[in-house]
Every structure is written in C-alpha cells, then in structure tokens.
C-alpha cells in the first residue's frame, strides 16, 4: 500500500493531483469492485444451501454444493460430473497442443522467413478470421462437418464415404472449431518471442553443420518458450472456459463443463450449485496452469506479454 501511495505521489508530482486521483480511483474500483468482491460473492453463494436459489442469502454456510459435485445426490460418487470435468481439461490440453504445433512454424515463418509485402499480407490474413464472431466460426464448422454438411456431402457423392460420418458426435467439429478460433492468440505471443532471436545465431548454427530440427530444438525453441507458455495458457483457459462452441457443436452425449454450470445456473435456476461448479472450474483450471508453469519453469509474469 505504501509503495502504491509512493507511486501515486510521484504521479502527482509529474502530472498533477487530478491525474493521480483518477488513476488511484480507477484502479481501486477495478481491483476491488469489479475483480475481487464479485469473486468473493460467487464463492460465498456457492457455500449457501438451496435456500438461496435465486441469489437470496439462505441460512448459514454449507459445503453441500461441493459435496454434490464429488458425491452426487445420494453420496455414492458423482462419476458423471467429475468425468466431464476431466474430459474438458484433457480436451482443452489437446486443443492447446494442436494449436502449438500448428502455430509455431507460422510464427517462425512470420518472424524470420517472410518479409515485406508477404509478411504484411500474412498478418492481415491472420486477423481477418479473428474478426468474425465466435458464434459464426462455430456455425461455419457445423456447415463443414454436419451430417448433411460439406465433407459428408462431398464424400458420399464422390464415393469415398459409404455413409455419412458423424463428425459432430465424435467431437471432431468441436475440436477443430476451438483450435481454429484461438490460432491468433497462440501465434502472436510466439511471434513476439521468436522475433527477438538474432538471425546470426541461426546462421552460425547452420554454418557449423547443425540440422534444421537441431537448430529449432537448441536455438529457436528456448527463445520461443515464454511465448509458447503465454499462448498456451491463454488458449487453454479460453478453451476450457468455452461455452458457445460446445453448445453449438457438442455431440448430444458429450458435455463441456461450462455447459453443466450453465444448466445449473440458467436452466435449473440453482444459483448456489451453479456458482459452486463455476468455482470448481476456476480452481481446477488455474491450478492446472500453475502446475504446468512450475513443471516448465515459466514465471507467471510472462503471460500476456
């Protein structure tokens, strides 16, 4: 706090008390009123019984909503919901890995191979699909992968598919759409990291006879690592927290964990349980990301840079 006050004092000296006041108030409102208190309110309501169905505060606190997540209605274990959480995490990891594999070469090309007009066109081409609404991107994948969609239509009429394949039920459409949606968020962090690499290092390694895989493994990848970590964190969190794409592209038998939250909250009208499930999602995702950062030795400050 004192450091903050000192910072504001320096501010007041340079830009006047008005600006310092504005910065102080805005940051306080943001941190306290918009970030911290709402999260606490959510955790609070998740600890209430069903007396607080629509946001009212029922009698005292209880862990029953979390117990429901783990053990189900009759205490025998809630395999269904826990399995959905695990499946969501595993699928989000898979989508993230796919994006890393797709995007690393593009980021490298963008930073060190392409130049001039080509590079500018490539950047432009990356941004255009990102402008399209998230819902419409999912819709496009439904056109492509639907049971009467493009691939099935072409496949059956050209004869290499005997009968339509259920891409939606197999979640192929969902994973493709999620990977597609977050490509840009993976490429830019990697690009920013790789761009800092001195080309001479690559030349030197090549002159000394290193093969391309070896150059990438020993020289480019270490430089790209913070960028990959940053991109992977963003893509993982967004994928695990995605709601629209699973609602539009999810198979009838497969649910995303966010859909469970949505069902408890909006369809069942059970706010405490919905909040408990949301808290479970948040804690699981953040915990997983922190664990991965520990494993790969990446500082959290690298995110978003």
């Amino acid at each position: 706090m004192s450091a903050l006050a000192a910072g504001l004092k320096g501010f007041a000296g340079r830009y006047g008390p008005g600006v310092a006041l504005f910065v102080g108030i805005a940051v306080t409102v943001w941190v306290v009123l918009l970030i911290t208190l709402p999260q606490l309110a959510m955790i609070d309501i998740s600890l209430r019984g069903s007396g607080a169905l629509h946001g009212g505060t029922g009698a005292g606190h209880t862990l029953s909503n979390y117990a429901y997540f783990l053990f189900g209605p009759n205490g025998q274990g809630n395999l269904f919901d826990v399995a959905i959480l695990l499946r969501t995490i595993v699928a989000a990891v898979a989508v993230t890995l796919i994006d890393v594999v797709i995007c690393y070469p593009v980021a490298y090309i963008l930073a060190h191979v392409a130049s001039g007009v080509g590079a500018r066109l490539m950047v432009l081409g990356l941004i255009v699909p990102f402008w399209i609404n998230e819902i419409l991107r999912a819709f496009a994948f439904r056109i492509i992968f639907g049971s009467t969609g493009l691939i099935n239509g072409l496949g059956t009429s050209l004869g290499f598919l005997a009968h339509p394949v259920d891409f939606i039920g197999a979640d192929v459409a969902l994973y493709s759409s999620l990977a597609y949606s977050y490509i840009l968020l993976m490429i830019f962090p990697i690009y920013n990291a790789v761009e800092a690499l001195d080309r001479n290092q690559i030349e030197a390694a090549r002159d000394m006879g290193a093969s391309w895989p070896r150059i990438h493994w020993r020289i480019v990848l270490p430089v790209a690592k913070p960028g990959i970590a940053s991109g992977a964190t963003i893509v993982f969190m967004l994928t695990a927290g995605a709601l629209a794409a699973p609602q539009i592209l999810g198979g009838p038998s497969s649910l995303w964990f966010t859909q469970l939250v949505y069902q408890w909250f909006n369809e069942a009208g059970n706010w405490p349980r919905g909040a408990a499930y949301a808290t479970v999602l948040l804690v699981t995702c953040l915990g997983f990301v922190l664990l991965m950062m520990k494993v790969f030795r990446v500082p959290i400050g690298a995110i978003g840079r």
């Binding site: 903050l4 000192a6 910072g7 320096g10 830009y15 006047g16 600006v19 504005f22 910065v23 805005a26 409102v29 943001w30 918009l34 970030i35 709402p38 309110a41 309501i45 505060t57 070469p105 593009v106 090309i109 191979v113 392409a114 500018r120 081409g125 990356l126 255009v128 699909p129 402008w131 399209i132 609404n133 998230e134 419409l136 999912a138 819709f139 496009a140 056109i143 492509i144 049971s147 009467t148 493009l150 239509g153 009429s157 597609y180 964190t233 969190m237 927290g241 995605a242 709601l243 629209a244 609602q247 539009i248 966010t258 909006n266 919905g274 909040a275 949301a278 999602l281 995110i303 978003g304």
Partner: protein, 428 residues
C-alpha cells in the same frame, strides 16, 4: 552448397506450409460465404440450387437479431467509455509503481482475461444482486438490469485488453519529454494533456476499437449477465442452437466485407504514413502528381470500396431468383412424379393378384405402408442419403410396421419428405 540447398528447401517447405495453413484459415470463411448465396434452405454448397440474395433479406427481417444489435451497440458504447480510461489508469499505475508491487498488480489485473467468462458472468450478477438487496433496491432497479450487469461484467476483462495496448505504447514513451516540459514551466496537468495524451492517441484509438469489438463479440459472460434481454451475439447463438439457415452465412458475408474494407483502408493509411515519413513520397512521381496523390489517398480508397460494396448491395437487392427457384421446385415435382409412376408399375408387377389400392391409401392403413413403399422405391435410385430401413415389402396391409418416429431424421416422416430427401438435383 548443402547450406544453400537446405535454405532453399526450407523456403519451399515454409511456403507450402504457409499455403496449407492459410487454406485452413480461409476455407471455413469461403465455404460460409458460398452458402450465403445458395437458395437451399440448409446452408450447403453441394447440391447447388440457385444463386440468390434472399438470405440477406431474411437476415435483416430477423427482429430478435436486429433488436439485439441495438442493445449491443448501447452496451458497446458504455464498455468503451469505461474500459478505455480504466485500462489507461491501469497502464499508468503499472508504469509508475515499484517493480515488486508491479508484478502483483499486473497479475491481479490480467487475471480476468484468463478467468473463464462463465465465472465472470456468474460472479457479476451474484455480487450486484447482493449489493442491490443490501441497499433495499427493488428487483427492477439498476443492479438487476441486464444492460448494467453486462457492462459491469464485460468491463472487468475488456479493460485489461485496453491496458495491454496502453502498456505497450507507454514502454516507448520517453519520460525526459515530460521532464523537459516541466522544466520549461508547464504545469503537471499541462504535461499530461499536451505531452502524454497526444503520444498515447493512436493507442487510445486502437484500444477503443478493440474494446468495442470484444464487447460486441462476447458470449460467455454476456449470456449470464444479460438476464432476460438479448444482445446481438446471444440472439445469434440461440438462433444457431435451435436451427440454422443460410441467413447466418449472409451475416458472415457482411462482417467479412466490412473487415476487408477496414483492413484495406488501414493498410493504405499505414503505407501513406510510411511513405511520407521515409521521404519516399517527396521523391516519388505518384505522390508528386496531384491526381496520383488523390488516387492513393486512403479516403479515396475507402470511398471506392464503399461505392463498390454499395453497388453490390444494390445489384443484389434487385436480383430475383424466384424463376430459378420455381424451376428447381418444378424439377423436383417432375422427378417425384416419375418415381411415383415407377413405383406404381413395380407394385403392379410384384403383387398382381389382389387389387392393391395404392392411391389413396386404404382407409384402414396407417400410412406407414405408403411411406415404406417410397422407402423401397427410392433405394434402387442410388441416392446417397438412403432413408432408414423402412419395411421393404410394399404390402399396404403391413400391420406390424410402426409409423416412423417423428424425431428420427433419416426416416421420412411423410412420403413427400422421403422423396425429397432422396432427390439430388442435377449439377450438384
């Protein structure tokens, strides 16, 4: 030698990979664009029926979407007005405070970007609901209003986007400029208004644009905070979830067109600025000639693009596909008629002894025999979307055959539906 060939190989590999990558990136958009102009009521490219622009009309007449557009515009305006100053404040605070505290503040402020939108939405309505109840507000009050809650929820993370943009710009700010202004007798307020704010102006513009877009696009948070109301994106999502038609493709076409116009104009502005800054403009003949200068001015390019788009809209609104559609319908009817004739002929052959009443169906029949007859009649036609195995025996008195379940898609619910499904118009 080997290095050169490796470099050449690397270049080829990267070109090939880049081409594949951009195919993946643009393929869905191109396919979606194509389906917007096909008259088939399910968005598809192959069977192509008629070129039509009717889906744009369908889109514009969708009341829910258009109402949502206005709600979204109001929310977007509110979010920009709050999130841009807030992001600026965050970036200024980060640039000023002690490094150890900076990391902590940065982590706190960046968290809303990473937190799932579902969590933000829930925490927002729960928190403001509690505040409203504590203040004794009626449930029609501000804190129970969908628009207010949506702005509050979106600002939480959208401000962080603005903050990242301002932080990037601030890193290139030279603080000695402010020192110089203060030494020369400027008041601190003047230093802020005349030195720092003008330096940040491009960042303010891009932050405003990005926050507007993020607010407009957002679904995960908004679907909770908007309550009973609907924004453009939530209306769109419910439309996609409960039945899709090509008017959504038409929407994508509009967005893609607007994006391209914006991107090309932006590129023109950047090139012009670079040319002028580098001094190339002064030397070049294109910029030296008044007509040339006018031709490459971004405003000219924008006007040209808008005029082109306007022309396309005008032409499209006059285009009438009803003749072609009637043709397709007629073609189907003829094919259907032909199939019915064939069917009748076959039924006469297979069951000649009893006088089989094929049309109208026998009064006691439940109609399923009729459907079964069409099902069997369609199979030899080699249609790709073969109906589900309905009873093949064309006996009208098939007491055991259940009527087709209404929900099961491939099974024809009516004889007509079945017949239509099997038919592929030529040229598809």
């Amino acid at each position: 030698m080997s290095a050169a060939s490796a470099g050449g190989g690397g270049r080829w590999a990267s070109t090939g990979y880049g081409a594949l990558f951009y195919l993946f990136l643009f393929g869905p958009l191109l396919i979606m664009t194509g389906t917007a102009f096909n008259s088939s009521s399910f968005p598809r490219l192959s069977p192509w029926e008629c070129f039509t622009t009717d889906w744009f009309g369908v889109l514009l007449n969708d009341r829910r979407l258009m109402d949502g557009l206005w709600t979204s515009a109001g929310i977007g305006l509110g979010v920009v007005l709050i999130a841009v100053p807030m992001g600026l404040a965050g970036a200024l605070a980060l640039s000023e405070i002690a490094p150890r505290l900076r990391a902590a503040l940065y982590t706190v402020l960046i968290t809303p970007v990473l937190v799932p939108g579902v969590v933000l939405g829930i925490s927002t309505i729960v928190f403001w609901g509690q505040v409203g109840r504590a203040l004794g507000m009626p449930t029609t009050g501000l804190f129970f209003d969908g628009v207010f809650l949506t702005i509050a929820g979106q600002v939480t993370f959208v401000s962080a986007y603005a903050m990242l943009i301002f932080s990037a710009r601030l890193q290139r700010f030279d603080p000695t400029l402010t020192e110089a202004a203060l030494d020369l007798g400027a008041s601190p307020g003047q230093a802020f208004r005349k030195i720092l704010l003008p330096f940040l102006r491009p960042a303010i513009a891009s932050a405003a644009f990005l926050t507007l877009l993020a607010s407009f696009e957002n679904y995960n948070t908004t679907v909770f905070t908007i309550l009973a109301d609907a924004t453009f994106t939530t209306a769109l999502a419910s439309k996609v979830r409960y039945g899709i038609d090509p008017s959504l493709s038409a929407l994508a076409v509009i967005i893609i067109a607007l994006t391209l116009i914006g991107a090309i104009t932006h590129e023109a502005v950047m090139r012009r600025r670079a040319a002028i800054l580098s001094g190339r403009a002064a030397r070049s003949r294109l910029y030296g000639h008044p007509a040339g200068r006018l031709a490459v001015h971004p405003a000219t390019i924008l006007a040209l693009l808008v005029a082109l788009a306007g022309l396309a809209v005008w032409q499209g609104s006059r285009y009438d596909s009803s003749a072609c559609r009637a043709g397709v319908l007629e073609e189907r009817r003829a094919l259907q008629e032909k199939l019915m004739q064939e069917q009748r002929a076959r039924m006469r052959q297979t069951a000649p002894a009893p006088a089989v009443p094929t049309e109208p169906p026998a009064p006691g029949g439940n109609g399923s025999g009729f459907g079964g007859a069409f099902g069997s009649g369609l199979r030899p036609g080699g249609s790709s979307a073969a109906p589900a195995p309905t009873p093949a025996a064309p006996s009208p008195a098939a007491p055991g055959s259940p009527p087709p379940a209404p929900g099961s898609n491939p099974a024809p619910a009516t004889p007509f539906g079945g017949a239509f499904q099997g038919i592929r118009p030529p040229g598809g």
